[in-house]
Symmetry: C3
Subunit: 349 residues, 3 copies
Amino acid sequence: MTETSLAKLAELVGGEVLGDPQLPIRGVADLRMGGPGTIGFLRDASRIELARSSGCAALLVPAPLEGLAAAQVVVRSPDSAFARIASFFHPPPRASRHEVHPSAVVDPGAVLHQPVRIDALVSVAAGAEIGAGSYLGAGVMVGRGVRVGRDCSIHPRVVLADGVRLGDRVVLQPGVVIGGDGFGYAPEPGGSWARIPHVGTVELGDDVEVGANSAIDRATLGVTRIGRGTKIDNLVHIAHNCDFGEDCAIAAFSAFSGSTRVGDRVQIGGHCVSRGHNSVVADARIAGGSVLWDDVDEPGDYMGYPLMSRVHWLRTLHAFRDIAEERGLNRANRRRSAAERSEPEHGDG
Amino acid sequence: MTETSLAKLAELVGGEVLGDPQLPIRGVADLRMGGPGTIGFLRDASRIELARSSGCAALLVPAPLEGLAAAQVVVRSPDSAFARIASFFHPPPRASRHEVHPSAVVDPGAVLHQPVRIDALVSVAAGAEIGAGSYLGAGVMVGRGVRVGRDCSIHPRVVLADGVRLGDRVVLQPGVVIGGDGFGYAPEPGGSWARIPHVGTVELGDDVEVGANSAIDRATLGVTRIGRGTKIDNLVHIAHNCDFGEDCAIAAFSAFSGSTRVGDRVQIGGHCVSRGHNSVVADARIAGGSVLWDDVDEPGDYMGYPLMSRVHWLRTLHAFRDIAEERGLNRANRRRSAAERSEPEHGDG
Amino acid sequence: MTETSLAKLAELVGGEVLGDPQLPIRGVADLRMGGPGTIGFLRDASRIELARSSGCAALLVPAPLEGLAAAQVVVRSPDSAFARIASFFHPPPRASRHEVHPSAVVDPGAVLHQPVRIDALVSVAAGAEIGAGSYLGAGVMVGRGVRVGRDCSIHPRVVLADGVRLGDRVVLQPGVVIGGDGFGYAPEPGGSWARIPHVGTVELGDDVEVGANSAIDRATLGVTRIGRGTKIDNLVHIAHNCDFGEDCAIAAFSAFSGSTRVGDRVQIGGHCVSRGHNSVVADARIAGGSVLWDDVDEPGDYMGYPLMSRVHWLRTLHAFRDIAEERGLNRANRRRSAAERSEPEHGDG
């Protein structure tokens, strides 16, 4: 188990220690579950009472707090600092020494830059190249000519199909498939479909992370690209020729049809779908369950089907909730109007 | 092939035999496809003619029927009885004798409680413990410190990531991933994302079943929990720190964002999505395609986006279908109203 | 690298050469990226300028073009012809000579019709039969009694569960699961669920293709069937007892509940969901994000939730976008109406 001093951790996150800088810290904890040797964090003032009763030995705080038994580290962003400290204690699995499990099948034509950690029952095909520091979990299948960068964490049973390219520090959760063929067929006169071979590839930039059982398809002729630092959740589908910018966050169950273009720092909630051949401008935020049928041209918060500004959508849902009742009223109104209009006629008669 | 008497089967399901109790039964069948030695079931009166013409040797029925060639077993719930009898003839794969395929890689530090059945190309890491009677299908990857209970059926190519815990009689279909890292990142000042390590785990209670290629993430610091007896369909996503009660049924393609809490006996149809940090009360039933944005506080039948009572939603959809037409009418009305309001002025003039 | 003459390719697609029939062609290319030895295609007149500046040595065109440096092949459907020519240069992986990787585990009771190509760490169980020309990628798991036809391409890490049957030229992308158990349980009096064993199987017709991490469940008692030539995208769920016709195209993330019946040549966009036990008539086209709650009885273009004709839905969305504003107007109208109705009373007073 890693142990360090509070001072070292404060240095790591650029914070100021209030209390004993030599306090030994061995792990992170929730405010409620913390004990001796653990550090927790206080995101905002709403949890001050919890912080006061916490058993954590130290707390990351946005400003000095009175009445705390725990030592404090004052930082600008406690949750970001907590993330870094948690990563210090629990880094993603990487290779510190060269270990290739005897049951792994590494083709003599593959290149392993030492050290790498390759677990049981991994297959690495000819022409593949694995960067130093990278980890391939049990059952990972690496195709021909694949390039994996340095310090990557490829969890069990990931498939990297022939020729795909990964940057450095890429993290792929179990079951991810990178480089399946795109879904492209040309209609034949008799109603059947002619297969369009997918000759392109997939490139994941540095620090890209992808969640369990997600699938990113290779391009028809060029490259399906995911920009540096973009994070993708479980069971996401990214079709051929999509192009994602940097530092995006894409939640689970979103499906991006072919040639969708997504700018930098876009955030997309769960269960969204894009029509394909459309684009989302940088810094847009799309709430879960939305349908991206057209382009999104202005940064901002969007939601719904059809996609609207978040405010417009919430107002629309509110109105929609009443539609059945209002429709009854409208009908009654129309009947009344019709009656009123006919009354004068009777009155005239 | 298993063979038994009708009397034994009747005993298994607490039913009463009408006909020859010694009739040999060797399997289950559909009413239409049944032949000698098979038992079928009649759910309700709508299929009586089919039952009369069926070739099944015996039928499970809710009440004695006249004019049947087949023997009868009278039970309260024929489909539940059928499920039990079908499970008698076709139990999920388990281990009756100890068999570890020579190609499997079992770390010397793993514990196998005999008997277990471990098929080809399975990997079991150090510190894992597999309960007696359990089956690990071909290509299953079991991480460090995993605990699998008794009589579990872990189908081919499942991944159990480090430290996850399964109860007894758990059934996981091919491709399931238990214990991928949760999707949690802290925003950094420059717009990038700091990885939040997921130090927690996943616990599946006794008799939990999960469908093909579903993914259940480990908690950030605590436990993602699925209660005893809960059944989950294919391609379902359950995020970090979700907490599901007992005996729920969750259909395919539903996605539960982080920290969703679901009570006992909740039923959720396919293609639903939860916002996260919300809760669903015990005994609620949510129809397919719904969006769970807020809490569901009362048991009952719900549907839609926004979520409404099932009745309200169906009425709303009905109204929605007419919205384009009515809008035309409303516009016409407004034009007419505007005209009427302006007419008197003219009349005044 | 394959090389052929332009004349041979023209013969393959039934086209007419304008230019040198002996021109050597070694691959396909995008109009923008083409160079010597490549053939591209011009779908329609909108890209004529691009065609004129393209470096491709030859182009597939719907009609003779003036001012082209490249040789031309005139065909009725350039994209269909391009698909065929690309498949000539990049056929799906198949077996031309018999190769079984030494790390593969092939049960002595399995039948391999030579030649087959079986890559590393594949498992083929007893009673399975693999047709001549077929390829099983690394980590593929083939269950007992499975039948794989001729010239199939089964990509890495696919699971074929016990007893499923594949026709000829089937292509399965990485991570596909064929034959997981269906999601069927009978409710027990205490609120728990009795498992209904799934004794049926799955049949995929000739030329069926399925995308990465999709899952097709076995039938309860009969067969889940996918008709000849039907193409299915990534992360699609097809439940027990579904029956799909021929030449359908099903985009990513669609979920078909139990016993959905889909006719021939149906096209379904991404992120659709079917209720189950409903049917879609041949030649229907359903846009992405739709909910198939009822039967679709007439061919045509459909969209939305509730499902409507495409035209009706687009009009409805348009109206829906204004609903919040109109509701404000309606309310104002109602207040005005109420005011008008009460005014006369005051006037009377």
